[in-house]
Each structure stands twice: as structure tokens, then as C-alpha cells.
């Protein structure tokens, strides 16, 4: 068994997530926070605080409702 583990990927948004512009109309921006299957990335990967992650979730769900983003990839 290998002793060296792969380093975790750095967060996308960085440590400062103050007031990010998360709107359901900014589809290209939202796509950055989705996996290839269209699932939302975790807070660990997005680097967002709880409040911003919640806003991100809301924006993705609104975009999915309007068929701007897929429910499943």
C-alpha cells in the first residue's frame, strides 16, 4: 500500500467568499461548481462559507428549474 496520498484539490473560490455574485442567470459561473454529472460540489471543494454555499445551492436549483442546468449529467 502506498504511503503517499494524493494532495487534496485546492478550493475553487479561495478563502475569501465574501459576497460572491451567485445568480441563477450566470450559468457559466455556476458550472464551475458542478461535477461532470451535474452534482454540486461540497463546501470543502468550493471553499465557500455556509452562507455562500447555501446561496450557491439556491442558484443552481433555480437554474435547474429553468432548464439552464441539467439535473443529472
Amino acid at each position: 500500500m502506498s504511503s503517499s496520498r494524493r494532495a487534496p484539490a485546492p478550493p475553487i473560490s479561495g478563502k475569501n467568499c465574501d459576497d460572491p455574485v451567485l445568480d441563477y442567470k450566470g450559468v457559466d459561473n455556476l458550472k464551475r461548481f458542478l461535477t461532470v454529472h451535474g452534482q454540486l460540489l461540497s463546501r470543502k471543494r468550493t471553499g465557500y462559507c455556509a452562507q455562500c454555499q447555501k446561496a450557491l445551492k439556491q442558484a443552481v436549483k433555480r437554474a435547474r428549474h429553468l432548464s439552464l442546468l441539467p439535473f443529472v449529467g
Binding site: Y24, K25, R62, R64, H65, L66, S67, L68, L69, P70, F71
Partner: protein
């Protein structure tokens, strides 16, 4: 009985948009006016391929509107929107203020010389976006292998 500002996005059937964009837009605005909405702005946001088909449609035109309305009319408006077959889907949100630049964009569409492009066929592929310009640091310099061999010899 509280007047609130709402942002609303409507997905319109492309077949109706192809016939006449003005008529399609007026149909939605008439519905809003019927329920006492005071329109702030309304414009064509985009026409694009849908992420998943809705009522058999692969593409749709998005109409973005901002309006003030009493919250007591919301339920009746929603019912009318649900019953309308030409509106594939809608999203209505309460917002604090009108976004900057929204009025100018809506006015530009209302100008006489503004031409709404006709929606492409339902199975038309998505137009290709121009490739982003390559940054200089992205370019990798490949060492000349022939020269390296000469040095070794």
C-alpha cells in the same frame, strides 16, 4: 396588500416567438397587467438550448421581466401562468431592487431599430463560442531534441 418588486423569467415556446416576438412578449405582459402588475422592464434575455427537454421542446426563448405587484395577486397570477400552454416554465422571485443597467437594456430592445433574431430550428446545434486567447505563460517551450543529441555526441 403589500406592493413588492418581483423578478420573473419566462420560458417561451420558440414556435410562437418565430411567428412574432412582439406578440409573444405582449401575451406575457398582458397577463401581468391583468393581475395589476406595474411593469418596470421586460426584455429578451436569451434564446438557448435547454439542458433537458420541456414538453418536447429542445430550445426556448427566455423573457426576463421586473414588475411591482401586490402580493395578494400572486396566487391568481401563478394559476394563469400554469394554465398557459405557450409559457413552458416560469420562475418568480422577490427582489430588493432593480439591477443596474436593466432599464437601459430593456429600452434598447424597445428601440425601433432593434431586431430580434429568429430562433433556430429545434435540432440546430449550439453556436460555437470563440476560443479564449492563449496566455503567454501557457505556451510550453519544447527543447530542440536534435541540438541536444549533437551536444551529447
Amino acid at each position: 396588500m403589500t406592493n413588492r418588486l418581483y423578478e420573473s423569467m419566462f420560458l417561451l415556446d420558440n414556435q410562437m416567438v418565430r411567428e412574432d416576438w412582439g406578440k409573444a412578449k405582449a401575451m406575457v405582459l398582458d397577463l401581468l397587467h391583468k393581475h395589476g402588475a406595474q411593469l418596470k422592464s421586460a426584455r429578451r434575455w436569451d434564446e438557448r438550448r435547454l439542458a433537458y427537454p420541456i414538453e418536447g421542446r429542445q430550445r426556448a426563448t427566455f423573457l426576463l421581466t421586473y414588475f411591482e405587484m401586490g402580493n395578494e395577486h400572486l396566487v391568481a397570477l401563478r394559476r394563469d401562468l400554469e394554465l398557459n400552454e405557450r409559457i413552458l416554465r416560469y420562475l418568480m422571485l422577490k427582489v430588493e431592487k432593480l439591477p443596474e443597467g436593466e432599464l437601459e437594456l430593456a429600452q434598447a430592445e424597445n428601440a425601433a431599430d432593434f431586431v430580434v433574431p429568429a430562433p433556430p430550428a429545434d435540432d440546430a446545434p449550439e453556436p460555437e463560442k470563440p476560443a479564449p486567447e492563449r496566455r503567454q505563460e501557457d505556451e510550453v517551450t519544447v527543447p530542440d531534441l536534435d541540438l541536444m543529441n549533437v551536444e551529447e555526441n
